[in-house]
Symmetry: C2
Subunit: 449 residues, 2 copies
């Protein structure tokens, strides 16, 4: 590496072997903390018949300690806000509470102490730095600012790196966002991939400028799949003349901690000493064999979290592992997220991920706009879809009826080839009929009719 | 004072005489900085025929240095974003840019360097602490988070004090806001006064709870007049069983710096060593005689600002001075803001402030809801209103036609007594017909018909 390529050279560049020793010590410490300070974990460990002293190796840990699920977080929090029986610090030690954005039902809360906040900032700074953000950038924050973890924290971390932060947030009227971009000439932006696309479309429409003329060269995209889907990324990088990096966070642990390096070949984990990751079978929760291409769910343990520790939290992301060292020199394994086990659909026994469908549709650009909905008759139970599946797909402007008919046929064939399944009914929908998502795009719609 | 009543005892409690010496030294320094680093001020001073060395006393400063107006900020910024000819630092030294919320025309930008940010935080922490926020509070942020100065900065300052911050922001659906309040049991909130009223109304409607049952005991209100209007404050403190404090910021200087102590008798200035305040005649801009009850516009000079210094910035707030020492022991003068000179209306030669009308209407509670609009035929020029003035006032539920007629008569009389003027036409409007403002309430509407 030529210049300072990472934020914190000592910890980030530590060889995996040495890092494992740190992780092991911290793992023992957090198990003791959870068992002795969290009513939830004290009970959970007792019920599983385990004691921190029983855990003598990483293998012991994976074999003996049960996973923690999102459903458990929700029901434990219902026992008493904000952390229910996983309340491990006094209320006055908590300095920040964020709530998930879920609009239905109860939000889940994530709390942090002063030390948790510092850890969070450290992770976010490493993430942005590895992603290429530098003090000389003017950086526009175009994710939501309310509540959720990628809001104020991301804007603060970018400021602490020394970049010039413009904390706009969404929702903000898109004409105002574009005016600010035109005026302030930011070089960098963090937003969802669908917002990157929305901005590009509106730029042409409202400013009569090519997106590339705005000078935004660094796109940090997260919050939904997209930035690492090759066809989508190619399209955006071409339109904006930019470098697009996918990033992800671990909301329940409270940080943004995964980002692509300039080689864009999987997520690097920037916070190895704060987070122990296992990649496991989605059903048995036992570690899979670590080899290139292996697939499993990510299960993580927050090694330093004070307010509400999480032990073996099952993220339900479908990950594909790369163990071969990255040519960029950053240590540790990498992985791609290819779907979510809890978003996964089992249709007639076949596993289908909406992100795969998105990828296929994107490859039809510019004939298809990229907007689509998978319409089910009822909410899937244990991933399993009953009843016929409709796919509503938006086509571009200026096509003849015949063009549309042909694209539809090609699309169905393409889905069938990739997924070994195709929707019963594909509805080709005119441009503008499926509203572009400014937030986390939801690809599945339930419609009983 | 018994406990630590202020955040920074040394600077905040410094006797006025000693503080004046600090201010004088810093004033000399900032004059040199502005003259030697800002093209805008270099030119402005030259045109006024002054040189920093000419300023040998506070009196010289007031007499010789011209004021800076908001219009100047706007036009200088148009010369080149973000700070135009008042750009005093290199772009890479700027770490934060906020834009005013103005929806029409160009926003004005405020920038800060790392040091400016630290000053901003120091001011906001002093403000919240003097207002009674403590580490044991859970504090909900219910002002906007996007861009404007009272957003992320206020949430960050509350966190740095050690309070448990819930950064929700507005706009957020009010049912979600109430759910978070019910779940997390905050003891403190920062919001606009109109939002405090809106929340109270919705609390009864959506949760079937009295507002006081929610346990919010500290209301920090700013962003619009209201919290220090006696009748409004009495009503809110009674409904919520709370302690309501008015606060204000100096956006162009970048900080929140004015707040009431527990005696609630005018704003204390918490940042005397960062900001030199003059109270001047609104037309001549020369200092008024400092005695209790004197009225004038506030003109301030940011003594430490690195990115875009402001010398004699005319705030256009109509202030009423209190020079008698406050019984709380906090040093320095206090003042009330009784209107804005740029909001002021001259109707048939009489000066009328919408806030005075608001105050009168509030005194009719519960018969009037407090919602109202002043409707003009055209935008005033130099404060002067041409054509008849309509007043639209919302009355409460359950009144007979006769009640409404009588209230209208009383209201007109009351306005005439206080203002020596009354609107040509008062329209009594049914409850719910004037939407409650979730943001900065706008009291004036232009309607040519």
């Amino acid at each position: 590496m030529i210049e300072k390529e990472v934020w914190n050279e000592y910890w980030e560049l530590m060889p995996e072997e040495e890092m494992k020793k740190i992780q092991w010590l911290k793992l023992k410490r957090i198990l003791i903390f959870a068992y002795t300070s969290s009513a939830f974990y004290h009970k959970k460990f007792n019920e599983a018949g385990i004691h921190p002293d029983d855990i003598k190796s990483f293998a012991d840990f994976s074999r003996k300690v049960p996973v923690t699920t999102k459903a458990e977080l929700r029901s434990m929090q219902a026992e008493g806000y904000p952390l229910g029986s996983n309340m491990t610090v006094s209320r006055t030690e908590i300095v920040w509470i964020t709530a998930s954005t879920g609009t239905t039902g109860k939000p889940t809360y994530t709390c942090c102490t002063k030390k948790d906040w510092e850890m969070w900032m450290e992770c976010a700074k490493r993430m942005f730095w590895l992603g290429g953000l530098r003090p000389e950038d003017t950086h526009i924050h175009a994710l939501g600012l309310s509540n959720w973890i990628s809001g104020i924290s991301f804007a603060t971390a970018a400021r602490e790196i020394g970049a010039t932060v413009v904390p706009v947030g969404v929702p903000t009227p898109v004409d105002r966002m574009l005016m600010l971009i035109r005026d302030l000439k930011p070089t960098s932006i963090v937003c969802t991939p669908s917002y990157a696309e929305h901005l590009a479309n509106k730029c042409q429409e409202l400013l009569d400028l090519k997106p590339s003329e705005l000078g935004l060269r660094k796109f940090f995209c997260g919050g939904e799949p997209g930035a690492s889907i090759p066809s989508f990324r190619r399209k955006m990088e071409n339109i904006w003349q930019c470098d697009m990096r996918d990033l992800m966070g671990s909301p329940e642990m409270i940080c943004g901690d995964l980002i692509e390096c300039h080689l864009k070949n999987g997520f690097h984990i920037v916070n190895r000493e704060f987070c122990y990751n296992e990649f496991c079978d989605p059903i048995t929760k036992m570690p899979i064999e670590m080899k290139d291409g292996a697939e499993g769910t990510r299960i993580y343990t927050a090694l330093d979290k004070e307010a509400g520790p999480l032990i073996r939290f099952d993220v339900q992301d479908q990950c594909q592992i790369m163990v071969a060292p990255c040519e960029c020199g950053y240590p540790g394994i990498r992985f791609n997220v290819t779907g979510r086990y809890d978003d996964m659909l089992k249709i007639k026994g076949v596993k289908i991920w909406p992100s795969t469908i998105k990828d296929i549709i994107s490859s039809f650009a510019p004939k298809l706009t990229g907007q689509f909905k998978i319409i089910l008759q009822e909410k899937p139970e244990l991933f399993t879809v009953t009843g016929p599946v409709k796919l509503k797909v938006e086509h571009a402007d200026g096509l003849t009826d015949n063009d549309v008919k042909n694209i539809k046929k090609e699309l169905v064939n393409s889905i069938r080839r990739s997924c070994l399944w195709a929707p019963e009914n594909v509805i080709m929908s005119p441009p503008g009929s499926i509203p572009p998502a400014e937030f986390k795009a939801k690809y599945i719609e339930i419609d009983a009719n």
